[in-house]
């Protein structure tokens, strides 16, 4: 029985580790500036936890086999423990875990403690059951006010986010169902929700933030590779949660300007 148990625990451990180590399923290729730091921290955590995982599981398997009761076994050791070992173990774990955490915190601070750089592209992201809308303030750089009373989700576009079209700032506000961003420019996202909580998750851009009704949350990131990236809502928001899907198109600055100008022209 000891042997069987060792074999099963070892097999489970090695098979599990194989699929991590072989990166059969892994983080999608990063396309934002933060990806390098996040992926490095992930890999470091993965190596440390992987070593502990292997040591603990393989050790467990070995111990249950090695110390199985046989007629030839010596009497069990009458020991109540070892305080020195406990202290060493405690300190090691504390240093390891807290050190790892402090390293990660540096990246977190650079991501979330500072505001977006001046001159960042402004985009307002609005979540609602079950769609995302994106608003660009246009050449004047100002978002026109929106109002809950004007919201009509079934109409889509400007009406869905409740844009006050009589406001002069609204003239150049562009509302779309797809997000376009210029590559290598910082993006200042302002996240809102009109009904329940949603979460704006773009795995390739290493970006996630809940959109909470009643809050306007500013976040920033910088896409670094041209391409199309999928948005998946990450907070349970109702029966259509699974299809609350969207696209981010990261394009060259030139293409972005062209695209935005075309949207402005459509509006006039």
């Amino acid at each position: 029985m000891g042997l069987a148990l060792m074999v099963v625990i070892w097999l489970i451990t090695l098979i599990s580790t194989y699929f991590f180590a072989a990166k059969t399923w892994w983080l999608p290729v990063g396309a934002a500036a933060s990806a390098e730091f996040i992926d490095k921290q992930f890999a470091l955590t993965f190596v440390i936890m992987g070593v502990v995982f292997l040591a603990a599981q393989l050790g467990l398997g070995y111990i249950v086999w090695r110390y199985r009761e046989q007629s030839s076994s010596p009497p069990s050791s009458y020991s109540h423990g070892n305080t020195n070992l406990e202290v060493v173990w405690t300190l090691l774990t504390a240093v390891l875990f807290i050190g790892l955490n402090l390293m990660g915190s540096r990246v977190w601070a650079s991501q979330r403690f500072d505001a977006a750089a001046p001159g960042a592209v402004q985009v307002e992201v609005t979540g609602m059951q079950f769609a995302w809308y994106f608003r660009y303030p246009g050449p004047d750089g100002k978002y026109a006010p929106t109002s809950v009373k004007l919201m009509d989700p079934s109409a889509g576009g400007e009406a869905a986010v409740g844009l006050n079209t009589s406001d002069p700032d609204a003239k150049d506000d562009v509302v779309t169902g797809t997000m376009y961003l210029p590559v290598d420019r910082e993006v200042d996202v302002s996240l809102r929700s009109v009904d329940v909580i949603h979460s704006f998750f773009v795995p390739s851009l290493r970006f996630k933030q809940d959109a909470v009704p009643g809050l306007n949350i500013h976040m920033h990131f910088r896409p670094t590779a041209i391409g199309e990236y999928e948005i998946a809502c990450a907070e349970l928001c109702g029966l259509g949660h699974y299809k609350m899907h969207g696209m981010v198109h990261v394009v060259s600055q030139e293409d972005f300007d062209k695209w935005l100008a075309a949207r402005e022209a459509e509006k006039q």
Partner: protein, 576 residues
């Protein structure tokens, strides 16, 4: 008020007083156990339907038909709620804690037997109210076991958010009241009713774990109860604790100025300690069983006690790690994250001490021991994904993905269930007077161990790849559709593992009536429940109170007549 001693001078007569409205903690423990057993089968059946729907969304299921996305969310909500409250909280604490805490400390019963009966029947009512949510118009709620408002606070947020959601909250509120009564009883009993010589540092680690769990319950359930009442008021009385000005389905609602994050803070102030409420008794049982079947004293008894106390203590200061992406201040994330890492330290101490307990032992592989070893393995696997999620910067990628689902299922789901299995196989002889079948126990163990790893380990891979949780199907997002083969594999693993649980149930009921008779101490254990007859008499020790002379885990004692010294053996026995 009548004391436990006077109430228990005579065993009650008549079926109803003896088996239904019983004041005997042993009967109440068994009632809790069967309530949890019923609940776990309901919860497991719901998960089976979920797994089938996720990979074959249009499959017609006999008698149920095709599952719709909203039905999937109802299943998900009820699966989580039933498992967390009526299984993981009910079985280890209400079931085994009720039965064995008084006996292990040498008491004739709980401190407040009437309160004990009341807390069971209140839990029973809560369970019935919860199940009723399935059968009302609109069905069970969709908002998940965490019930985040505004979704849970607004009737028009989706089907199931009407009467179903009201019943769901009411049931949880009733459950909170029952748990508060239970917690008071456990704490009082542990502090006041210990037999002579049963000092705190001679209590079995199971008793410590139930005691600490009760303290956590006392502090946590009160908060959830209040939060639930506020939510009911938002839903039905027009208040705005959690709901700001919003538009749902094109309708402007009458709420104004509430904070959805308030609920998250209150909920997780309960919710995180709840994780430890589920797992601490498992830790206690694993310690007890590992020591017994390794024939060795527990490694570092005091360290184990301090580790559990610090897990309980830190457990109240880390709720914000569920909220890194919620819009909470990023500065507070920093503090919550460091404190969360601190919990890793006592958890690591416990793992180390379990390995140390088996080291140089003489390990006997009875079924309870297999489950305790499985518990350690799962605790390690589930625990080590914690330091990923505890780092806010990694949580950006992993929050609300299958990585989280894999993490908590391994550690608070399956590890805790393995603790319950270990406890069942271990104490069954004492509870029912017969032995369970070992061969079937082993078969059940190996299928369950391999099966649960096959279900939950791949969830980590899916999470890394960005698979979001609570999606009823993966047809709409292209990168997620590619992950479907792995989901399909997990569904097959789930079907096999669920089928294997019938081995357990058949073994349980068959052994109850047909198993070989158990002796008073079949595992050669040291703690007080094994000093009394099998099953124990109504007052636990047949008219006398045991006197405790030894610590709880005196195995492999050199010079002893047997290889163990029981807690009530004469003081002259060679042990310290």
């Amino acid at each position: 008020m009548a004391t436990a001693a006077t109430l228990h001078a005579h065993a009650p007569q008549g079926f109803i007083r003896k088996y239904i409205f019983s004041l005997d903690h042993k009967v109440i423990g068994i009632q809790y156990f069967f309530l949890a057993l019923t609940a776990v089968f309901v919860g497991m059946f719901l998960s089976l339907l979920m797994r089938i729907h996720m990979v074959w969304p249009t499959a017609a299921i006999p008698l149920i038909g095709e599952i719709k996305p909203e039905t999937y969310l109802s299943l998900l909500t009820m699966h989580g709620t039933i498992m967390v409250f009526f299984v993981l909280t009910t079985a280890p604490q209400g079931g085994f804690g009720n039965y064995f805490l008084p006996i292990q400390i040498g008491a004739p019963d709980m401190a407040f037997p009437v309160l004990n009966m009341l807390s069971f029947w209140t839990t029973f009512v809560a369970f019935m109210v919860m199940l009723a949510a399935f059968f009302v118009t609109g069905g069970a709620p969709l908002h998940g076991w965490t019930g985040y408002p505004p979704m849970s606070a607004v009737q028009s947020a989706g089907p199931g958010e009407g009467l179903g959601a009201d019943l769901w909250i009411t049931s949880i509120a009733i459950f909170c009241i029952a748990s508060l009564m239970g917690a008071l009883n456990f704490i009082t009993t542990t502090l006041d009713l210990r037999a002579k010589g049963m000092t705190l540092m001679r209590m079995p680690l199971t008793v410590w774990s139930w005691f600490i769990t009760a303290i956590l319950g006392l502090l946590a359930f009160g908060v959830l109860l209040s939060a639930g009442i506020l939510l009911l008021m938002d839903r039905n009385l027009g208040t705005s604790f959690y709901v700001p000005l919003i538009v749902v389905n094109g309708q402007v609602l009458g709420h104004k100025g509430g904070s959805p994050l308030l609920w998250q803070h209150l909920f997780w102030f309960f919710g995180h300690p709840e994780v430890y409420i589920a797992i601490l008794p498992g830790m206690g049982v694993a310690s007890q069983v590992l020591s017994t079947f390794s024939r060795k004293p527990i490694f570092g008894y005091r360290a184990m006690v301090y580790a559990m106390l610090s897990i309980g203590f830190f457990g109240f200061m880390v709720w914000g790690h569920h909220m890194f992406m919620s819009g909470m201040s990023p500065y507070s994330a920093f503090a919550f994250s460091i404190l969360t890492m601190c919990i890793g330290v006592p958890s690591a101490i416990k793992t180390f001490n379990w390995l140390g307990t088996m080291w140089k032992g003489r390990i006997r592989f009875h079924t309870p021991m297999l489950y305790a070893i499985g518990f350690v393995s799962l605790f390690v696997s589930g625990g080590l994904s914690g330091p990923f999620l505890a780092q806010p910067v990694l949580d950006i990628q992993l929050h609300d993905t299958y990585f989280v689902v894999g993490h908590f299922h391994l550690i608070m789901g399956v590890a805790a269930i393995f603790g319950i299995f270990a406890a069942t196989y271990y104490w069954f002889p004492k509870m029912f007077g017969r032995m369970m079948n070992e061969t079937w126990g082993r078969i059940h163990f190996f299928i369950t161990l391999a099966g649960t790893y096959a279900i939950f380990m791949p969830m980590h891979y899916l999470g890394m790849a960005g698979q979001t949780r609570r999606y009823s199907q993966f047809t709409e997002v292209a990168y997620q559709t590619k992950l479907l083969p792995l989901q399909t594999f997990m569904t097959y693993a789930a079907i096999i593992t669920i089928a294997a649980q019938f081995i357990f149930v058949i073994n349980l009921f068959w052994s109850m009536f047909k198993g070989p008779k158990a002796s008073d101490n079949p595992w050669e254990c040291t703690t007080l429940e094994w000093t009394t007859t099998t099953p124990p008499p109504h007052d636990n020790f047949g008219g006398h109170t045991p006197v405790v002379n030894h610590g709880p885990y005196e195995y492999g004692v050199p010079g002893a007549a047997r290889d163990y010294v029981m807690q009530n053996d004469p003081a002259t026995a060679p042990a310290h």
